[in-house]
């Protein structure tokens, strides 16, 4: 198949970027989107040009590195997939495909399509953990039975890969889905309960400091989330933040 690629090029965080057009021919339908980008980069290098910089690593949809806004959607038109698992068969022959970086004040562009998502790390550092030291003598793993339903729900929230698609796709660049997924995972499990109040307050504070926008409950994040994380988590965090503030000392 033949496609026309319009890719965002930006030299560095402070430079102005622009869209660059690259016609591509003989693209195989079985290629992943990133393999198509590899082919383009190979061509660019052979022509003596700088290849397009983009983040990627595992290429199996779990590391959360890849981050492309394709044809107006985070991770492209597929549902429950990351860019690396998006295949060219999802596009039509002759289609023009726009590729842009995640756009958010909290995710400054490093170069071309690569952005800095360390804001997410700082949010986790602010409280996204259980304060337990390494010890060979924690209690036995089966000492506290956890209802299967709670464990499954915690797992579903915990599957977040931290890719930032929720922020990229939210019209307000809100990080609520990301933050609430971690808050939910830990507050659903008995191990996370002791620090529940502190955690939500600190994580929301950090989220605000990073310059993310606010949640309008549009639900776009849950649609575009490659792991299908539900916005129920957001409501849970709203509830916990409120009750924690009203009851903590």
């Amino acid at each position: 198949m033949n496609i026309t690629l319009k890719v965002w090029r930006q030299k560095g965080p402070n430079s102005l970027g622009k869209m660059e057009t690259h016609p591509m021919s003989n693209v195989s339908e079985d290629m992943s989107f990133l393999e198509m980008m590899d082919v383009l980069n190979d061509k660019l290098i052979r022509e003596g040009n700088e290849p397009i910089a983009f983040d990627h690593d595992c290429r199996e949809g779990i590391c959360g590195s890849c981050s492309m806004f394709i044809n107006g959607e985070a991770h492209g038109p597929g549902r429950n997939v990351t860019t690396c698992q998006l295949h060219m068969r999802s596009f039509k022959d002759g289609e023009t495909i726009h590729v842009e970086p995640w756009r958010s004040a909290a995710f400054p562009v490093i170069k071309d399509l690569a952005v800095d998502r360390s804001a997410f790390d700082r949010i986790i550092q602010s409280g996204g953990y259980v304060s337990v030291n390494t010890s060979g003598s924690t209690q036995d793993a089966n000492a506290i039975p956890i209802p299967k339903h709670d464990a499954d729900e915690a797992f579903d929230s915990a599957t977040c890969i931290g890719c930032g698609a929720c922020v990229a796709t939210c019209k307000n660049s809100s990080a609520m889905l990301f933050v609430s997924a971690k808050v939910s995972q830990l507050s659903l499990l008995p191990q996370g309960k002791p620090e529940k109040k502190e955690r939500v307050i600190r994580m929301v504070d950090q989220m605000d400091l990073e310059g993310f926008g606010n949640c309008t409950n549009t639900g776009a994040c849950e649609v575009e989330c490659p792991k299908g994380i539900s916005i129920t988590n957001i409501a849970r965090m709203n509830r916990e933040f409120l009750s924690s503030n009203l009851t903590s000392k």
Partner: protein, 253 residues
């Protein structure tokens, strides 16, 4: 900070919040993005209640003849004199003001959160138009509220009002407003009111159930009920409101 002052000046922040102001870490609940959402939700839901009350009164415009005129004017008098209602009305004004200012601040923050726009963005693939345009719809409603208050509230309070049976005759003001023989702009006014109610319907369609989510009121057992109530509310209330100017215009044309 500017935002913080607004909260104190307006003073509608639930007073329990202030108690924790000093103990909060970096930002404090008053300035937290989530608190702004709670305020949006609370004021929004309160305004929904107001809409019900306002509608119930206005429906008296459907009563024909002298009886309707008396009933509506009595209602108008009651609404401007009863101390309890007065308090409620101040809360309503404050809520509107707050909802507007808070919404404005949120919108500014949201715009700042994405300084460079996408070249191509397909919001329709993942969210409803209403949810993406609450600010736009809200602005339309604000314009409407201002005109609406100039048309009636201002006249009632400060204007030169006709008197009927000892009370200010708001009924005549209202019916004449939508009467093409009395008011050359009646047609346009009716259209404006209907348009405003369409905006309100869309605003409520998302806003009603979103308010519940913002307050954390979310449970798989009740979510469908909330959603249904939101849909019903956003359809019934605005259409009932809109039917009044249409009725007045058509019956008097």
């Amino acid at each position: 900070m500017f935002q913080f002052d607004i909260w104190l000046v307006i003073g509608v922040a639930p007073c329990t919040f202030t108690k924790y102001r000093k103990t909060m870490r970096k930002t404090g609940i008053l300035k937290s993005s989530l608190s702004k959402k709670y305020a949006m939700a609370l004021t929004g839901l309160f305004l929904c209640l107001f809409l019900v009350g306002h509608l119930l009164g206005n429906l008296q415009l459907f009563i024909e003849g002298e009886a309707g005129r008396v009933a509506f004017n009595e209602y108008a008098k009651f609404m401007t004199s009863n101390p309890l209602i007065k308090i409620m009305s101040y809360i309503t004004y404050a809520s509107i003001l707050f909802h507007v200012i808070d919404g404005f601040l949120l919108t500014i923050a949201n715009k700042k959160a994405r300084p460079v726009k996408y070249v191509v963005e397909k919001g329709s693939r993942n969210s409803s138009w209403a949810s993406r345009n609450m600010a736009l719809l809200g602005t339309a409603l604000l314009v409407f509220i201002v005109t609406h208050m100039m048309n009636f509230w201002w006249v009632m309070h400060f204007g030169d009002m006709p008197v009927h049976k000892g009370v200010k005759d708001l009924h005549t003001i209202t019916t004449h407003f939508f009467n093409p023989h009395e008011n050359a702009m009646a047609g346009a006014a009716t259209l404006l009111y209907v348009f405003a109610m369409v905006s309100m319907s869309i605003h409520l369609h998302h806003g009603f159930q979103s308010a519940f989510k913002s307050l954390g009121l979310d449970h798989p057992k009740y979510n469908s009920t909330v959603k249904f109530m939101g849909k019903a509310f956003s359809l019934v209330i605005p259409s009932a409101f809109a039917s009044i100017p249409i009725f007045l215009y058509l019956t008097q044309a």
